[in-house]
């Protein structure tokens, strides 16, 4: 019985972790749906958003090192702090600006190109953004606090203790992440399915020429989609940044999104969520049950093995569109 309760706690924590994975995967799905491109830069986008948020919050001078080196000054901070809400809004604006720049400087010149070319472009963008983040805000590890509650939720611990005689240990941040992710997904699904912009987005993903011929502005759709992806990256950046600090390894969480996408399907928003949850729960339960037998650390590879199995048996993922081609 104790084992079972413990397993259910592990599972619950797995679900919460899964939500965090899903948040990152969402950004990928959006761009993929709208441009048929796997956006390698999504993880870096989250990092960049988190860096910018911390920078704005703490009143850091952007490009301080560069300015100091060039002019012999010693600027570091403006000497003010910006309230969280305002800082988040400003960061969102920065992400929209970034979307404009990406469209103007990169995508506009690649209209009608093969997806692989666009994919290569996003790899370039990833490295560029990582460098830009470094130059703008410095490479040190920063703590991010936007006022989200953190630490163990005592009320859940007491309630579950009185029910099962065992207090569940759940991080309050994880609960908040779940709520926010749920809201975000509901909004995104409504957007993609029911608005004309959503329909236009799917059209652009399918065929640039055809989209143009029915009067869809590629420019507008791309800026819109990258802005939304930037916003999702911001949310993911806030969550992960709060959880484990804003550091450059944050961009690597993008790698964890890959198996999530293979499970859920690259084109499905609900798929990203379900995929994230399955991976989150799966790797925690696997570590809990099988881990001790093989010496642990299964969390590092479990997701990828699962993704590999999916690639073999169901390449379109659980919810992805089946690719049919007549020859």
């Amino acid at each position: 019985m104790d084992q079972l309760i413990f397993a259910s706690e592990v599972m619950l924590n797995g679900l919460m972790t899964g939500v965090m994975y899903a948040l990152v995967a969402l950004g990928f799905v959006l761009i993929f749906k709208a441009s048929g491109v796997f956006n390698y830069a999504q993880g870096v986008l989250a990092l960049f958003a988190a860096l910018t948020l911390v920078g704005i919050q703490n009143g850091q001078v952007p490009f301080a090192h560069l300015i100091n080196a060039a002019f012999g000054t010693s600027l570091h901070h403006f000497g003010w702090t910006v309230p969280s809400v305002l800082a988040i809004a400003l960061t969102a604006l920065v992400m929209v600006g970034l979307a404009f720049l990406i469209e103007k400087l990169v995508l506009q010149h690649l209209v009608g190109q093969e997806p692989i070319i666009l994919f290569m472009a996003t790899i370039g963008m990833a490295y560029f953004l990582e460098g830009l983040g470094d130059v703008m805000w410095g490479a040190d590890i920063k703590t991010l606090d936007v006022g989200l509650p953190q630490g163990i939720s005592e009320s859940i611990e007491t309630v579950t203790d009185s029910w099962f005689g065992y207090g569940y240990f759940i991080d309050r941040l994880d609960i908040w992440a779940t709520v926010i992710a749920a809201l975000l997904v509901a909004a995104l699904v409504a957007f993609a399915q029911y608005t004309k912009q959503g329909r236009a987005m799917r059209a652009v993903a399918d065929d640039h020429q055809a989209a143009l011929s029915v009067g869809i502005s590629l420019r507008f759709i791309w800026v819109m989609v990258w802005s939304i992806a930037g916003f999702v990256a911001l949310v993911a950046g806030i969550m992960w940044g709060t959880k484990s600090g804003v550091q450059f390894s944050l961009s690597l969480i993008a790698l964890k999104a890959l198996p999530v996408l293979m499970l859920g399907g690259f084109t499905s928003i609900p798929g990203a969520i379900v995929g994230g949850l399955i991976i989150g729960v799966g790797e925690k339960l696997f570590e809990f049950s099988i881990g001790p037998m093989v010496g642990g650390a299964t969390e590092n590879w479990f997701a990828y093995v699962l993704a590999l199995l999916f690639l073999v048996f169901r390449p379109q993922g659980l919810f992805g569109e089946r690719i049919i081609e007549r020859v």
Binding site: A187, A190, F191, Y194, T195, K196, Q197, R199, A200, R202, A203, A205, D206, D207, Q209, A210, A211, L212, S213, V214, G215, I216, S217, L218, T267, E321, I323, I324, E325, R326
Partner: protein, 273 residues
Amino acid sequence: MNSMTSDGYITADGRQIGGKLMELKNITLRFGGVVAIKDISFDIRQGEIRAIIGPNGAGKSSMLNVVSGFYHPQDGEVWFKGSRRQPMKPHQVAGHGVARTFQNIALFDGMSVLDNIMTGRLNKMKAGFLSQAIWWGKAEREENENRAVVEQIIDFLEIQNIRKTPVGRLPYGLKKRVELARALAAEPQLLLLDEPMAGMNVEEKEDMSRFILDVNDEFGTTICLIEHDMGVVMDLSDRVVVMDYGRKIGDGTPDEVRNNQQVIDAYLGVAHD
């Protein structure tokens, strides 16, 4: 075409054709050193079926791309509905009442036939963003109205039985018909068809010809088409522009064009000595 005036003319089968809907004046289009279109002028009149023909590589598709805004000519003027058109992006041209199909079919393969045709109505939807997302008020009414129009077109083109089929699964001939349906959904004033019958068998060609004539007849849509099948072109069109190596070598009714020596030379070849 005995009585060609600036107000229009009467066709051989007795239809009244109106004034100039679109006029191209001295269009020249170059790609680097290659001249794709050289100093071509012609007009498309309200309500007529206008064909552009010519051997492969004559510049027909380039011409259509100029009209639909995909290419921008280096020289020349495009006049539409009586005023000179500034250089526009293709999506802006579409917004001004010009719809088109493509030589090698450009449909949204992942979407159903119905959704594909609905994209043709994107420009007709004006409801606010939020209202659409929560499916309420103006958005719902609008969606229903647009759906009704689309259903009409589906009936018209006789594709009811494939409404929900993903386009990727359809055979070639039906894809072409869906593409026509999507273009019609925009209720265009000028409909551009780039080789609407390429790769079709005789039966499919007959169907498509009938639909093109019906569209012109029932909706009064002006149509400009490119086609290789001479028989089809002569049957369908009111007037024909003939292109060869980027130049215009003939312009007139099918009969006039058929008897034009330059056209005969271009198609059958001419002895060089």
